[in-house]
Protein backbone atom coordinates (compact mmCIF):
# COMPACT_ATOMS: atom_id res chain seq x y z
CA UNK A 1 0.00 0.00 0.00
CA UNK A 2 1.75 3.17 -1.09
CA UNK A 3 -1.08 5.62 -0.41
CA UNK A 4 0.17 6.28 3.13
CA UNK A 5 0.98 9.78 4.32
CA UNK A 6 4.55 10.62 5.26
CA UNK A 7 5.49 9.78 8.86
CA UNK A 8 5.37 12.54 11.48
CA UNK A 9 7.68 11.11 14.10
CA UNK A 10 10.73 8.91 14.48
CA UNK A 11 11.48 7.12 17.74
CA UNK A 12 15.19 6.33 17.78
CA UNK A 13 16.10 3.79 20.43
CA UNK A 14 19.80 4.57 20.46
CA UNK A 15 20.78 1.87 22.95
CA UNK A 16 19.29 -0.65 25.34
CA UNK A 17 21.94 0.17 27.95
CA UNK A 18 20.50 1.88 31.02
CA UNK A 19 21.67 2.40 34.61
CA UNK A 20 18.09 1.92 35.83
CA UNK A 21 16.22 -1.38 35.87
CA UNK A 22 12.54 -0.43 35.90
CA UNK A 23 10.39 -3.56 35.98
CA UNK A 24 8.01 -2.11 33.35
CA UNK A 25 10.65 -1.06 30.83
CA UNK A 26 9.29 -0.80 27.28
CA UNK A 27 12.39 -2.47 25.85
CA UNK A 28 12.10 -6.10 24.75
CA UNK A 29 13.02 -8.94 27.14
CA UNK A 30 15.86 -9.73 24.74
CA UNK A 31 18.05 -6.63 25.08
CA UNK A 32 20.58 -5.64 22.40
CA UNK A 33 24.25 -5.63 23.46
CA UNK A 34 26.29 -2.48 22.91
CA UNK A 35 28.43 -4.09 20.19
CA UNK A 36 25.29 -4.56 18.06
CA UNK A 37 24.29 -0.87 18.18
CA UNK A 38 24.31 1.28 15.05
CA UNK A 39 27.43 3.46 14.92
CA UNK A 40 27.27 7.26 14.84
CA UNK A 41 27.56 7.69 11.08
CA UNK A 42 24.65 5.33 10.43
CA UNK A 43 22.36 7.20 12.82
CA UNK A 44 23.35 10.48 11.15
CA UNK A 45 22.42 9.08 7.74
CA UNK A 46 19.12 7.74 9.15
CA UNK A 47 18.25 11.20 10.50
CA UNK A 48 18.92 12.72 7.05
CA UNK A 49 16.66 10.12 5.43
CA UNK A 50 13.97 10.75 8.04
CA UNK A 51 13.97 14.51 7.48
CA UNK A 52 13.77 14.01 3.70
CA UNK A 53 10.88 11.58 4.19
CA UNK A 54 8.88 14.19 6.13
CA UNK A 55 9.57 13.29 9.75
CA UNK A 56 9.08 16.41 11.89
CA UNK A 57 9.84 15.20 15.39
CA UNK A 58 12.68 13.01 16.58
CA UNK A 59 12.41 11.20 19.91
CA UNK A 60 15.80 10.07 21.18
CA UNK A 61 15.32 7.27 23.64
CA UNK A 62 16.76 3.95 24.77
CA UNK A 63 17.56 2.39 27.20
CA UNK A 64 19.17 5.55 28.35
CA UNK A 65 20.06 7.65 25.28
CA UNK A 66 22.74 9.63 27.10
CA UNK A 67 24.66 6.39 27.66
CA UNK A 68 25.76 6.95 24.02
CA UNK A 69 28.99 8.94 23.90
CA UNK A 70 27.86 10.56 20.63
CA UNK A 71 24.57 11.92 22.00
CA UNK A 72 25.55 15.58 21.53
CA UNK A 73 26.68 15.01 17.93
CA UNK A 74 23.41 13.20 17.17
CA UNK A 75 21.34 16.05 18.60
CA UNK A 76 23.37 18.65 16.69
CA UNK A 77 22.82 16.95 13.34
CA UNK A 78 19.11 16.45 14.01
CA UNK A 79 18.78 20.11 14.88
CA UNK A 80 20.63 21.16 11.70
CA UNK A 81 18.11 19.08 9.77
CA UNK A 82 15.31 21.10 11.45
CA UNK A 83 14.00 18.01 13.24
CA UNK A 84 12.26 18.85 16.51
CA UNK A 85 14.49 17.03 18.97
CA UNK A 86 13.14 15.42 22.13
CA UNK A 87 15.31 13.55 24.63
CA UNK A 88 13.51 10.86 26.64
CA UNK A 89 15.74 10.18 29.60
CA UNK A 90 16.11 8.89 33.14
CA UNK A 91 18.40 11.88 33.69
CA UNK A 92 20.87 10.22 36.04
CA UNK A 93 23.84 10.49 33.62
CA UNK A 94 23.34 14.17 32.66
CA UNK A 95 25.79 16.48 34.41
CA UNK A 96 25.89 20.25 33.88
CA UNK A 97 28.49 20.03 31.11
CA UNK A 98 26.39 17.54 29.14
CA UNK A 99 23.23 19.58 29.65
CA UNK A 100 24.95 22.72 28.38
CA UNK A 101 26.29 20.82 25.38
CA UNK A 102 22.86 19.37 24.56
CA UNK A 103 21.19 22.78 24.82
CA UNK A 104 23.94 24.31 22.67
CA UNK A 105 23.44 21.57 20.07
CA UNK A 106 19.80 22.58 19.64
CA UNK A 107 17.85 20.18 21.86
CA UNK A 108 14.26 21.42 22.24
CA UNK A 109 12.71 19.30 24.94
CA UNK A 110 13.60 16.87 27.70
CA UNK A 111 11.18 14.26 28.96
CA UNK A 112 12.42 13.18 32.35
CA UNK A 113 11.05 9.99 33.89
CA UNK A 114 10.12 9.67 37.56
CA UNK A 115 9.38 6.34 39.22
CA UNK A 116 7.40 7.82 42.11
CA UNK A 117 7.02 10.88 44.32
CA UNK A 118 8.37 9.12 47.41
CA UNK A 119 12.19 9.00 47.02
CA UNK A 120 12.71 5.63 48.70
CA UNK A 121 9.97 3.94 46.69
CA UNK A 122 11.15 5.67 43.48
CA UNK A 123 14.69 4.35 43.97
CA UNK A 124 13.37 0.89 44.81
CA UNK A 125 11.22 0.73 41.64
CA UNK A 126 14.01 2.10 39.44
CA UNK A 127 16.60 -0.16 41.03
CA UNK A 128 19.01 2.79 41.29
CA UNK A 129 19.97 4.26 44.67
CA UNK A 130 19.94 8.05 44.75
CA UNK A 131 18.27 8.32 41.35
CA UNK A 132 15.25 10.32 42.45
CA UNK A 133 17.33 13.07 44.07
CA UNK A 134 19.42 13.38 40.87
CA UNK A 135 16.25 13.75 38.78
CA UNK A 136 14.88 16.53 40.98
CA UNK A 137 18.14 18.41 40.70
CA UNK A 138 18.34 17.92 36.93
CA UNK A 139 14.76 19.16 36.42
CA UNK A 140 15.68 22.52 37.91
CA UNK A 141 18.82 22.76 35.79
CA UNK A 142 16.82 21.94 32.63
CA UNK A 143 14.35 24.77 33.09
CA UNK A 144 17.14 27.15 34.12
CA UNK A 145 18.82 26.32 30.79
CA UNK A 146 15.60 27.41 29.03
CA UNK A 147 14.74 23.95 27.73
CA UNK A 148 11.16 22.70 27.71
CA UNK A 149 10.61 20.01 30.34
CA UNK A 150 8.09 17.20 30.63
CA UNK A 151 7.91 15.25 33.88
CA UNK A 152 6.89 11.68 33.11
CA UNK A 153 5.47 9.73 36.04
CA UNK A 154 4.96 6.05 35.38
CA UNK A 155 2.10 4.88 37.57
CA UNK A 156 0.82 1.52 38.75
CA UNK A 157 -0.58 -0.18 41.83
CA UNK A 158 2.52 0.58 43.92
CA UNK A 159 2.44 4.40 43.55
CA UNK A 160 -0.93 5.37 42.07
CA UNK A 161 -2.32 7.09 45.17
CA UNK A 162 0.06 10.03 44.77
CA UNK A 163 -1.12 11.41 41.41
CA UNK A 164 -2.27 14.85 42.69
CA UNK A 165 1.11 15.42 44.36
CA UNK A 166 2.96 14.24 41.23
CA UNK A 167 1.19 16.91 39.17
CA UNK A 168 1.97 19.60 41.75
CA UNK A 169 5.62 18.57 41.81
CA UNK A 170 5.80 18.79 38.00
CA UNK A 171 4.62 22.40 38.13
CA UNK A 172 6.95 23.26 41.01
CA UNK A 173 9.86 21.90 38.94
CA UNK A 174 8.99 24.26 36.08
CA UNK A 175 7.69 21.60 33.68
CA UNK A 176 5.35 22.83 30.94
CA UNK A 177 3.91 19.37 30.57
CA UNK A 178 3.38 16.35 32.78
CA UNK A 179 2.60 12.84 31.71
CA UNK A 180 0.79 10.50 34.08
CA UNK A 181 1.42 7.27 32.26
CA UNK A 182 0.01 3.99 33.44
CA UNK A 183 2.34 1.09 32.78
CA UNK A 184 1.67 -0.50 29.42
CA UNK A 185 1.69 -4.24 29.79
CA UNK A 186 4.12 -5.53 27.17
CA UNK A 187 7.50 -7.19 27.61
CA UNK A 188 8.82 -6.43 31.10
CA UNK A 189 5.52 -4.84 32.07
CA UNK A 190 3.63 -8.01 31.13
CA UNK A 191 6.04 -10.11 33.20
CA UNK A 192 5.29 -7.88 36.20
CA UNK A 193 1.61 -7.32 35.52
CA UNK A 194 0.34 -9.21 38.57
CA UNK A 195 2.35 -6.90 40.86
CA UNK A 196 1.59 -3.65 39.03
CA UNK A 197 -1.95 -3.66 37.67
CA UNK A 198 -4.13 -1.24 39.69
CA UNK A 199 -7.59 -2.02 40.94
CA UNK A 200 -10.61 -0.42 39.32
CA UNK A 201 -11.08 1.82 42.37
CA UNK A 202 -7.44 2.98 42.27
CA UNK A 203 -7.72 3.73 38.57
CA UNK A 204 -10.95 5.70 38.96
CA UNK A 205 -9.46 7.78 41.76
CA UNK A 206 -6.37 8.59 39.67
CA UNK A 207 -8.47 9.44 36.63
CA UNK A 208 -10.64 11.80 38.68
CA UNK A 209 -7.49 13.48 40.04
CA UNK A 210 -6.16 14.01 36.49
CA UNK A 211 -9.50 15.41 35.28
CA UNK A 212 -9.62 17.88 38.18
CA UNK A 213 -6.00 18.95 37.66
CA UNK A 214 -6.55 19.51 33.93
CA UNK A 215 -9.14 22.12 34.81
CA UNK A 216 -7.19 23.82 37.60
CA UNK A 217 -3.82 23.84 35.72
CA UNK A 218 -5.26 24.88 32.33
CA UNK A 219 -2.84 27.09 30.40
CA UNK A 220 -0.05 26.54 32.96
CA UNK A 221 0.65 22.85 32.68
CA UNK A 222 -0.32 20.48 29.89
CA UNK A 223 -1.39 17.15 31.40
CA UNK A 224 -1.37 13.97 29.35
CA UNK A 225 -2.81 10.77 30.72
CA UNK A 226 -2.02 7.31 29.41
CA UNK A 227 -4.52 4.75 30.69
CA UNK A 228 -4.07 1.02 31.19
CA UNK A 229 -6.10 -1.04 28.73
CA UNK A 230 -7.39 -3.49 31.28
CA UNK A 231 -10.48 -1.55 32.30
CA UNK A 232 -11.19 -0.08 28.88
CA UNK A 233 -14.25 -0.68 26.79
CA UNK A 234 -12.59 0.45 23.55
CA UNK A 235 -8.91 0.03 22.63
CA UNK A 236 -6.35 2.80 22.27
CA UNK A 237 -5.27 3.90 18.79
CA UNK A 238 -1.84 2.39 19.34
CA UNK A 239 0.87 4.62 17.80
CA UNK A 240 -1.97 6.51 16.11
CA UNK A 241 -2.48 3.44 13.90
CA UNK A 242 -0.03 0.91 12.51
CA UNK A 243 2.37 2.58 10.10
CA UNK A 244 0.32 5.78 10.00
CA UNK A 245 2.40 8.31 11.93
CA UNK A 246 5.43 6.79 13.58
CA UNK A 247 8.59 4.86 12.84
CA UNK A 248 10.58 3.14 15.57
CA UNK A 249 14.19 2.12 15.09
CA UNK A 250 15.77 -0.35 17.51
CA UNK A 251 19.42 0.03 18.59
CA UNK A 252 20.48 -2.53 15.98
CA UNK A 253 18.80 -0.60 13.13
CA UNK A 254 15.65 -2.68 12.79
CA UNK A 255 12.70 -0.51 11.74
CA UNK A 256 9.30 -1.26 13.25
CA UNK A 257 5.90 0.44 13.49
CA UNK A 258 6.25 0.42 17.30
CA UNK A 259 8.82 -0.46 19.91
CA UNK A 260 7.06 -3.65 21.00
CA UNK A 261 6.58 -5.14 17.51
CA UNK A 262 9.75 -7.20 17.68
CA UNK A 263 7.81 -9.91 19.54
CA UNK A 264 5.49 -10.53 16.60
CA UNK A 265 6.17 -13.81 14.81
CA UNK A 266 6.03 -14.06 11.06
CA UNK A 267 7.56 -10.62 10.52
CA UNK A 268 10.93 -9.70 9.10
CA UNK A 269 11.61 -6.17 10.22
CA UNK A 270 13.91 -4.51 7.70
CA UNK A 271 17.10 -2.80 8.82
CA UNK A 272 18.30 0.67 7.89
CA UNK A 273 21.45 -1.16 6.83
CA UNK A 274 19.56 -2.94 4.03
CA UNK A 275 16.92 -0.56 2.76
CA UNK A 276 16.06 3.12 2.69
CA UNK A 277 13.68 4.50 5.29
CA UNK A 278 11.37 5.61 2.49
CA UNK A 279 11.25 2.14 0.98
CA UNK A 280 10.59 0.61 4.40
CA UNK A 281 7.81 3.09 5.23
CA UNK A 282 5.94 2.90 1.95
CA UNK A 283 6.60 -0.61 0.69
CA UNK A 284 7.79 -3.11 3.31
CA UNK A 285 5.49 -5.91 4.43
CA UNK A 286 6.25 -4.93 8.03
CA UNK A 287 4.66 -1.49 7.60
CA UNK A 288 1.88 -2.31 5.17
CA UNK A 289 0.48 -5.52 6.66
CA UNK A 290 -1.71 -3.85 9.33
CA UNK A 291 -1.87 -0.37 7.80
CA UNK A 292 -5.33 1.04 7.19
CA UNK A 293 -8.45 -1.09 7.60
CA UNK A 294 -8.34 -3.82 4.92
CA UNK A 295 -6.65 -6.35 7.25
CA UNK A 296 -9.27 -6.03 9.98
CA UNK A 297 -11.39 -8.97 11.15
CA UNK A 298 -14.87 -8.54 12.53
CA UNK A 299 -16.04 -6.89 14.73
CA UNK A 300 -13.51 -4.19 13.65
CA UNK A 301 -14.25 -4.33 9.93
CA UNK A 302 -17.80 -3.07 10.22
CA UNK A 303 -17.19 -0.91 13.34
CA UNK A 304 -17.80 2.82 13.04
CA UNK A 305 -14.68 3.41 15.18
CA UNK A 306 -12.32 1.56 12.84
CA UNK A 307 -10.63 4.79 11.74
CA UNK A 308 -10.57 6.15 15.29
CA UNK A 309 -8.79 3.34 17.12
CA UNK A 310 -7.40 1.54 14.04
CA UNK A 311 -8.12 -1.85 15.60
CA UNK A 312 -6.14 -1.09 18.76
CA UNK A 313 -2.79 -2.68 19.41
CA UNK A 314 -1.39 -5.56 17.35
CA UNK A 315 1.24 -6.41 19.94
CA UNK A 316 -1.36 -6.68 22.70
CA UNK A 317 -3.54 -8.88 20.48
CA UNK A 318 -0.56 -11.18 19.98
CA UNK A 319 0.64 -11.12 23.59
CA UNK A 320 -2.78 -12.02 24.95
CA UNK A 321 -4.29 -14.24 22.22
CA UNK A 322 -1.28 -15.55 20.29
CA UNK A 323 -2.57 -14.00 17.05
CA UNK A 324 -1.54 -10.46 16.04
CA UNK A 325 -4.42 -10.10 13.56
CA UNK A 326 -7.20 -10.57 16.12
CA UNK A 327 -9.20 -7.70 17.57
CA UNK A 328 -7.37 -6.09 20.51
CA UNK A 329 -8.81 -7.79 23.62
CA UNK A 330 -9.03 -4.32 25.25
CA UNK A 331 -12.20 -3.82 23.21
CA UNK A 332 -15.33 -4.99 25.01
CA UNK A 333 -16.61 -6.21 21.63
CA UNK A 334 -13.55 -8.44 21.11
CA UNK A 335 -14.13 -12.19 21.27
CA UNK A 336 -11.11 -12.45 23.60
CA UNK A 337 -12.10 -9.64 25.99
CA UNK A 338 -12.39 -12.03 28.93
CA UNK A 339 -8.58 -12.38 29.10
CA UNK A 340 -8.44 -8.79 30.39
CA UNK A 341 -10.96 -9.56 33.13
CA UNK A 342 -9.04 -12.69 34.11
CA UNK A 343 -5.79 -10.68 34.36
CA UNK A 344 -7.48 -8.22 36.71
CA UNK A 345 -8.67 -11.07 38.94
CA UNK A 346 -5.23 -12.68 38.93
CA UNK A 347 -3.51 -9.46 40.00
CA UNK A 348 -5.88 -8.82 42.90
CA UNK A 349 -4.33 -11.61 44.94
CA UNK A 350 -0.76 -11.29 43.63
CA UNK A 351 2.26 -10.26 45.74
CA UNK A 352 4.20 -7.06 45.01
CA UNK A 353 7.47 -8.79 43.98
CA UNK A 354 9.12 -7.34 40.88
CA UNK A 355 11.29 -8.80 38.13
CA UNK A 356 13.90 -6.16 37.37
CA UNK A 357 14.94 -5.29 33.84
CA UNK A 358 18.46 -6.38 33.12
CA UNK A 359 20.27 -8.25 30.42
CA UNK A 360 19.53 -11.95 30.77
CA UNK A 361 16.91 -11.55 33.55
CA UNK A 362 13.83 -12.30 31.52
CA UNK A 363 12.57 -14.96 33.89
CA UNK A 364 12.51 -15.62 37.62
CA UNK A 365 12.33 -13.13 40.43
CA UNK A 366 15.31 -10.85 40.86
CA UNK A 367 16.02 -8.64 43.84
CA UNK A 368 16.95 -5.00 43.33
CA UNK A 369 20.71 -4.44 43.44
CA UNK A 370 21.79 -2.03 46.16
CA UNK A 371 18.32 -0.80 46.31
CA UNK A 372 17.66 0.49 41.33
CA UNK A 373 14.90 1.25 35.77
CA UNK A 374 12.96 3.42 32.41
CA UNK A 375 10.39 5.78 31.02
CA UNK A 376 6.94 4.68 30.03
CA UNK A 377 5.41 6.75 27.33
CA UNK A 378 2.76 5.40 25.08
CA UNK A 379 1.78 8.76 23.70
CA UNK A 380 1.52 8.79 19.98
CA UNK A 381 1.81 12.30 18.69
CA UNK A 382 -1.37 14.17 18.13
CA UNK A 383 -1.90 16.06 14.95
CA UNK A 384 -4.49 18.60 15.94
CA UNK A 385 -6.06 20.99 13.53
CA UNK A 386 -5.95 24.59 14.74
CA UNK A 387 -8.12 27.32 13.43
CA UNK A 388 -10.25 30.17 14.69
Amino acid sequence: MSNADAPLGLIAELTHRCPLQCPYCSNPLELARSAAELPTEEWLRVFEEAAALGVLQLHLTGGEPTARRDIVALVRRASELRLYTNLITSGVLIDQAMLDALAGAGLEHIQLSFQDLDPANADRIGGYAGGHAKKLELAERVTRAGLALTANFVVHRQNLGRVPEMIRLAEALGAGRVEIAHVQYYGWGLVNRPALLPTRAQLDEATAAVDAARESFKGRLAIDYVVPDYYATRPKACMGGWGRRMLNIAPTGKVMPCHAAEILPGFTFPSVREASLSDIWYHSDAFTRFRGTDWMPEPCQSCDRREIDWGGCRCQAFALTGDASRTDPACALAPDHQVMLEAVRESEAAPADLVYRRIGAGTGLAKPPGSGAASQSAMPQEADGVGP
Binding site: L56, K218, D224, A383, G387
Partner: protein, 91 residues
Amino acid sequence: MTLDEASVPRFGAGVRFQHDRVRDAWVVLAPERLFLPDAQAIEILKCVDGRTSLGGIIDQLAARFDAPRAVLAADVGAMLQDLADKGAIRI
Protein backbone atom coordinates in the same frame (compact mmCIF):
# COMPACT_ATOMS: atom_id res chain seq x y z
CA MET B 1 -4.49 32.51 31.61
CA THR B 2 -6.95 34.70 29.78
CA LEU B 3 -5.71 36.87 26.94
CA ASP B 4 -6.80 40.46 26.58
CA GLU B 5 -5.69 43.02 24.00
CA ALA B 6 -2.78 44.16 26.18
CA SER B 7 -1.40 40.61 26.47
CA VAL B 8 1.77 39.88 24.53
CA PRO B 9 1.56 36.34 23.20
CA ARG B 10 4.70 34.36 22.51
CA PHE B 11 5.49 30.76 21.71
CA GLY B 12 6.19 28.72 24.87
CA ALA B 13 9.50 27.03 25.62
CA GLY B 14 10.04 24.17 23.21
CA VAL B 15 7.42 25.38 20.74
CA ARG B 16 8.35 26.03 17.11
CA PHE B 17 6.28 27.43 14.25
CA GLN B 18 7.89 26.48 10.98
CA HIS B 19 7.33 25.73 7.34
CA ASP B 20 7.72 22.09 6.39
CA ARG B 21 9.24 21.79 2.96
CA VAL B 22 8.25 18.16 2.46
CA ARG B 23 4.51 18.84 2.89
CA ASP B 24 4.69 22.50 1.84
CA ALA B 25 2.73 23.28 5.01
CA TRP B 26 3.12 25.34 8.17
CA VAL B 27 3.27 23.38 11.42
CA VAL B 28 3.47 24.12 15.13
CA LEU B 29 5.84 21.68 16.83
CA ALA B 30 5.67 21.35 20.62
CA PRO B 31 6.57 18.75 23.25
CA GLU B 32 4.75 15.57 22.12
CA ARG B 33 2.37 17.75 20.13
CA LEU B 34 1.96 18.78 16.56
CA PHE B 35 -0.60 21.30 15.36
CA LEU B 36 -1.61 21.95 11.79
CA PRO B 37 -2.85 25.55 11.57
CA ASP B 38 -5.34 26.49 8.86
CA ALA B 39 -4.78 29.41 6.47
CA GLN B 40 -6.19 32.04 8.83
CA ALA B 41 -4.31 30.68 11.85
CA ILE B 42 -1.06 30.76 9.86
CA GLU B 43 -1.44 34.50 9.21
CA ILE B 44 -2.13 35.11 12.90
CA LEU B 45 0.83 33.01 14.07
CA LYS B 46 3.17 34.84 11.70
CA CYS B 47 2.44 37.97 13.77
CA VAL B 48 3.40 36.32 17.07
CA ASP B 49 6.89 37.65 17.79
CA GLY B 50 6.91 38.01 21.58
CA ARG B 51 6.84 41.83 21.32
CA THR B 52 3.51 42.68 19.69
CA SER B 53 0.39 42.72 21.88
CA LEU B 54 -2.80 40.95 20.90
CA GLY B 55 -4.31 44.37 20.10
CA GLY B 56 -1.34 45.17 17.88
CA ILE B 57 -1.67 41.85 16.05
CA ILE B 58 -5.36 42.55 15.40
CA ASP B 59 -4.48 46.03 14.06
CA GLN B 60 -1.87 44.57 11.70
CA LEU B 61 -4.25 41.96 10.34
CA ALA B 62 -7.15 44.42 10.01
CA ALA B 63 -4.96 46.71 7.92
CA ARG B 64 -3.49 43.95 5.80
CA PHE B 65 -6.76 42.19 5.01
CA ASP B 66 -8.98 45.27 5.03
CA ALA B 67 -11.35 43.49 7.41
CA PRO B 68 -13.66 44.84 10.14
CA ARG B 69 -11.61 45.00 13.33
CA ALA B 70 -14.34 43.73 15.63
CA VAL B 71 -14.83 40.52 13.64
CA LEU B 72 -11.09 39.89 13.46
CA ALA B 73 -10.63 40.60 17.16
CA ALA B 74 -12.97 37.80 18.12
CA ASP B 75 -11.40 35.25 15.75
CA VAL B 76 -7.78 36.11 16.59
CA GLY B 77 -8.47 36.16 20.31
CA ALA B 78 -10.24 32.81 20.23
CA MET B 79 -7.51 31.12 18.19
CA LEU B 80 -4.67 32.31 20.40
CA GLN B 81 -6.65 31.55 23.57
CA ASP B 82 -7.13 27.98 22.33
CA LEU B 83 -3.38 27.53 21.82
CA ALA B 84 -2.72 29.18 25.21
CA ASP B 85 -5.03 26.68 26.88
CA LYS B 86 -3.02 23.91 25.23
CA GLY B 87 0.25 25.40 26.46
CA ALA B 88 1.67 26.27 23.03
CA ILE B 89 1.19 30.04 23.49
CA ARG B 90 2.25 31.85 26.65
CA ILE B 91 1.61 35.41 27.77
